[in-house]
Structures are given as C-alpha cells and as structure tokens.
C-alpha cells in the first residue's frame, strides 16, 4: 500500500517521518482518546500503537530523502484524486494520525492491526529477554514488524501465535543466530546484535534451546548427544557426566533407548532427547520450540508437569546459589491445554507484533477478540485460514 494517503491523514503532524508511532512506542501518548497503559518498565505503552496501518512497513523501507520528495508530491496527487485514492483515504485514517477519531476505524476490516492492542500487563519481574521494536524481513517477506515482547524472569512464559508468524524466528533472534534488520534484542539487558563473537558464544551458554525439529547430531547416539554440551563445556569426569545424562534421559523416558541414533527414533522421541539436551547445562534461559508437538496426549501432559517441576527445581537452585537472574522458561506451543496448565505468562503474537501479553490467568480472561479466539481454539473470529 502506498503511504501517500496516510501522510494526508497526518497533515497536521510535523514530526519527521521516521518518528512514527510504530518506531517509538512512547510517542503515541499525544493522542487524546487513548488510555495509556503503564508497563513495568515505567514506559507508557500506547494501546493503539498496533493500529498504525500497514503503510508503516512501506514507509520504513524508504530512505529519508525519498520521503522528502514524496512530501512535496502529496498536494499534486491530491489534485488528481481519483476514486481509488479517496477510498484509501478513508482507510488511511487509521494510520496513527494524531487527532483522528477512532470509533469508525476500529471496524475497518482492512486494518491488519485492529486487534493488536499491544497491551503488556505487568508482572513485577524484570525481563530476561526483551524485544524492542524488532523488525526482520526475509527478502520481501516481512516477518517481525516492530515486535515489542518481553519474557519475564522466574516465570514460565509462552509465545502463542498462528503458524508461520515468526515464533521460531524469534528464538533465533534471542540466541543471535539471526540479527534484526532494525530494533534490538536484549538478553539480561545486553544487546545481542552488538555482541562480539566471543561474548556471544559465552552468552549463549546461558541458554538451553530445543529446536522445533530437535536438531540432534546425526553422527552420535542420543546419550552422546545429551552428554555433548557437558563434555565440551565442563571438566567433569565422564562418570559424573553420564550420571547426569542418564538422569535426564530417565526423566524424559528415554533411559532404555540411550544407544539409538537420532534417525532410528520417532519424532516425539527426538523431541524428548532434544529436551534433555537443552536442560543438561542447567541454563538460566530455556527456550522450547514446540516441545509437545509429535507427542501423544499423555506424554504431552507429563511433559507439561516435567517442565513445571524442572522450573521449580531450577528456581530453588537459583535462590540457593543466588543466581543473578531467576530462570526464565519459554515455551512455544500450539497446544492450548499445555498453555493452560503450564504457563504463567503469555505473549500472543500475530503478524509480527504482540496482540496482547500478560500473566496467563489475565490473558485467558481477556476481552480481545483475537486473543479469545486463539486461546479457545475457535474457528470463528478474526483469524482465518489465510
């Protein structure tokens, strides 16, 4: 969508183009009819921030000098005004204009972000991982579009969202496997994209990651797979290592299959082996990408309990040993039962932004139509197949 109509919606707005509400979440407080919601960072999050129309994306791609150029052209286009233009104009009102009346536009079916209130309900805990206005595109395919997301310390958080929204991409940003095109990703307050290699490698040892497909090493049996990080990163004698490994393997029910190679396992077994490997170094940030996909319902329920148990254990450990940061567990899942049973904090992501986030019980009571549909798994609602 061209952004010219949008500029018209904001004619009275003399901020430079890049100072868009989408870029600075705090900047939207100039609006009259919105209630700004404080989050625990003390910043104000504009509940209407997500509503900036799709034109934001086009805009951000333009070099500054071109936007100048277009500014001058705007009156011309207005003169030529055809029907198409005026139709757009009406929809452009949603584009984050300063004094636009909101009521009619909320109904606008074209507005991709009408459900994205971006509200962040406070938890009182600091964030272990924080996304700040993160943008990421693969070629022309924009995946993250100004994501503001936090994963609080000491809690089991969930990232929920439709398939293909970029949840796995988020995980890769947290550990520095992908870098954002714009914006920042902070881990314990440190910016991941600006770390040097050695620093980054050190930082990654805080993480335990279960990839969506397990990512076990095909050249080793699963016991060696699970032992691998321990063998390389610690000086423990092999006997101790195998003790730890066997305990983890028993926890996930793979004690008997220890000598199998990954290609001899079922998908669910691979998942569980990857799960054991992710936890073997007692990481303080744990990321599980769909640990329960490919598991039977009973195993899924048990895995949920296991995650809670391990989180409890790690919390106690952390308190005892005075870890500087409480353990943050993060799950990506499509299983609403798991989400209900296990989660303490929920981020709902859609179209590259947060729809709403907050403590789990509050989110399950949310009156946001999208959040409701998603958490209920209903077929009717804002989310369709496309």
């Amino acid at each position: 969508m061209p952004f010219i109509p949008k500029r018209r919606g904001r004619d009275d707005d003399d901020r430079p183009e890049t100072e868009d509400t989408a870029v600075h979440p705090t900047a939207g407080s100039g609006r009259k009819d919105d209630v700004a919601v404080p989050d625990d960072t003390g910043l104000f999050v504009d509940p209407d921030e997500g509503r900036a129309s799709t034109t934001d994306d086009t805009e951000l791609d333009l070099p500054d000098d071109r936007t100048e150029d277009v500014d001058q052209r705007a009156p011309l286009t207005r003169l030529s005004g055809n029907a198409e233009e005026s139709r757009r104009e009406s929809s452009a009102g949603t584009g984050g204009g300063v004094s636009v009346v909101r009521e009619p536009q909320a109904e606008d079916p074209d507005d991709e972000y009408q459900w994205h209130t971006g509200i962040r309900r406070p938890t009182g805990n600091p964030d272990a991982v924080e996304f700040v206005e993160t943008h990421k595109a693969f070629g022309r395919n924009k995946i993250l579009r100004g994501l503001n997301m936090g994963l609080p310390e000491g809690m089991i958080s969930m990232i929920l969202g439709p398939s293909g929204t970029g949840k796995s991409v988020c995980i890769k940003h947290m550990v520095g496997l992908l870098y954002p095109d714009d914006g920042d990703v902070l881990v314990h307050g440190e910016s991941v994209p600006s770390m040097g290699l050695d620093h980054l490698l050190g930082m990654r040892q805080k993480f335990g990651v279960l990839f969506q497909d397990g990512a076990l090493f095909g050249s080793m049996n699963i016991r060696d797979n699970v032992a691998f990080p321990l063998r390389q990163h610690t000086d423990k004698p092999d006997k101790d290592i195998l003790e730890i490994v066997d305990r983890r393997m028993d926890e996930v029910g793979l004690g008997a299959a220890w000598d199998k190679f990954p290609n001899e396992l079922s998908g669910g077994m691979r998942k569980r082996a990857g799960f054991a490997r992710a936890l073997v170094l007692d990481p303080s940030i744990v990321l599980f990408d769909e640990p329960d996909s490919g598991l039977d319902p009973v195993r899924t329920a048990l895995l949920g309990e296991l995650i809670q148990e391990i989180h409890q254990e790690t919390m106690e450990d952390a308190r005892e040993k005075n870890w500087p940061h409480m353990p943050a567990f993060t799950l990506i899942t499509h299983d609403i039962m798991t989400a209900r049973r296990v989660s303490q904090f929920i981020n709902v992501v859609w179209k590259g932004r947060i729809v709403e986030s907050g403590p789990a019980d509050e989110l399950f009571d949310s009156d946001n139509a999208f959040v409701n549909q998603f958490l209920a798994g209903a077929s009717r609602g804002p989310l369709g197949m496309n």
């Binding site: 490698l201 993480f207 990839f211 990512a215 095909g218 390389q232």
Partner: protein, 265 residues
C-alpha cells in the same frame, strides 16, 4: 545465451565469499585456536584414514600400473626399453599421482564434507552447535582442515610409493625388457629429492583447497535436501577446476625451468 553464462557467473560470485571464509578457517588453524577441539580434529583424522586411504592408494596403484605398462611398451617400440623408468620417475611423481590424488580427494573427501555439513545445516544441527556456545566454523571446518594436514602428507607419500611400486611391477616383472637394477638406475637418475617435495606441495595445495571448498559449500548450504545436492555438485565442479589449475601451475612453477627438460620453454 544468458542461461549459459549463469553458471560461471554463479561460481565467480562465490569466489570472494569463499576466499573470506577460507581465510577465516586457515586463521583458526594457524592461530592454534583449533587445538581447543583437538579431540574432534583427531576423530576427523581417524575418519579420513579409515574411509579414504585405501581408495586413494588403490587408485594410484592402478594409475602406476598403466603408466608402467605404456612406458614399457613405448620405450620398447623406440628401441630404448631401459628408459622405461623415466615414465615412472616423471609422470607418476609429477603429474599422475597428484591428479589421481586430487580427483579422489574431490570425489570422496570433498563431497563427503559438503554432504555432511550441508545436512547438518539444514537439520539445524549447526544452529544447535552455535546455541550451545560453540564456534561452529572452528568446530566443524578448522578441525577438518587440521585433520587433513595431519594425515594427508603421510598418506600421499605412501601413495607415491604405491604408484612407483606398481610401475616397477609392470615394467620389470610383467613386461620384463629391463632388469631390476637397470630400471632403478634410470628411475633414480631422473629425479632428485626436491621433486618429491614439490609433488607433495602440489598435492597438499589441492587437498587444502578441496577441504576448504567442501567446508564452504557445505556450511553455507541452504534450500533443503535439494540444496545440499546442488551444493555437492557445485563443489565438485569447483574442486576439479582447482585441481587442474593447481596441477598446471605447480608443474610450471616447480619444473618449468628444470634443466633436464625445460617444459617452460
């Protein structure tokens, strides 16, 4: 027309990237950072020995037989059968053994590396390594380069031995126009120790390039299993070109001004 140019263009585009990547790996080996994963390097060396030695020796042995046979019959036909040793001394050492070694390295070791690293890449194993806090280039590529430098010089010298032995067998034992002593006299007369060193340098340059090209194409594979297949094929093309380039330049450089036969003109 443009479709014809597509492939060479594609190859050239990779040259810069590949050179940077290779420089990084070489740097990691020279700076001895790679010793952090000495265990893995030794494991790779073991894999290289068990999986590739016999094939390479076998190939070189057959080439040596051929060379001896043709040399024996050719020298007989021009009435100087005693000079069959020249073939073995020159052609085996300077050209055929290095090429055979290069081809086999490209076919067996090079493609093996591409396929292995490529499938690790697409199944996110490399990502998993990175996430566990390992420098994946160091762990996967530098260790392989070090392993090949540890193993291949010995393997190559032994391969030359196999080639020479095969030539000796055909010339002296099978065709039998010349006595063992007569053959060896000429054989040793037409080479000196630096020749062996030059040949070794040629072969090691080939091996280094092959391992680096394999690592580059494997490590940077994308596009699923098909992508790994394409990368393997591409790496093979690049490796064969490089083997010939190194073979040719090496010969010109080392023996171009050789007073016995100044092939450099």
């Amino acid at each position: 027309m443009s479709a014809w140019l597509e492939q060479p263009k594609d190859l050239l585009a990779n040259v810069g990237e590949g050179a940077k990547f290779s420089a990084k790996i070489m740097g990691q080996v020279y700076s001895l950072r790679v010793l952090r994963f000495l265990g893995e390097a030794l494991r790779q060396a073991g894999v290289l020995i068990t999986s590739s030695t016999v094939v390479i020796w076998g190939l070189v042995f057959i080439i040596g037989l051929q060379c001896g046979l043709e040399g024996a019959y050719f020298t007989r036909s021009i009435g100087s059968p005693a000079y069959a040793g020249v073939f073995a001394a020159w052609c085996d050492l300077r050209e055929l053994v290095p090429y055979a070694f290069g081809y086999m390295m490209a076919a067996k070791v090079g493609t093996g590396i591409v396929a292995e690293l490529g499938s690790m890449r697409i199944s996110e194993e490399i990502d998993a390594l990175e996430v566990m806090g390992f420098d994946s280039v160091l762990f996967l590529c530098a260790t392989r380069l070090l392993a090949s430098w540890l193993v291949l010089p010995f393997m190559y010298v032994a391969a030359i031995g196999a080639g020479f032995f095969a030539s000796y067998l055909t010339v002296v034992e099978q065709v039998g126009d010349v006595s063992s002593g007569g053959y060896l006299l000429i054989f040793w007369m037409f080479q000196n120790p630096p020749d062996l060193l030059y040949s070794l340098i040629k072969a090691m340059s080939m091996a280094t390039v092959i391992v680096l090209v394999g690592c580059y194409y494997g490590y940077n594979a994308n596009g699923g299993p098909v992508g790994v297949g394409t990368a393997t094929a591409k790496s093979m093309v690049v490796n064969l070109i490089m083997v010939h380039l190194i073979g040719m330049l090496g010969t010109q450089l080392f023996w171009g001004a050789n007073p016995r036969a100044p092939i450099g003109g």
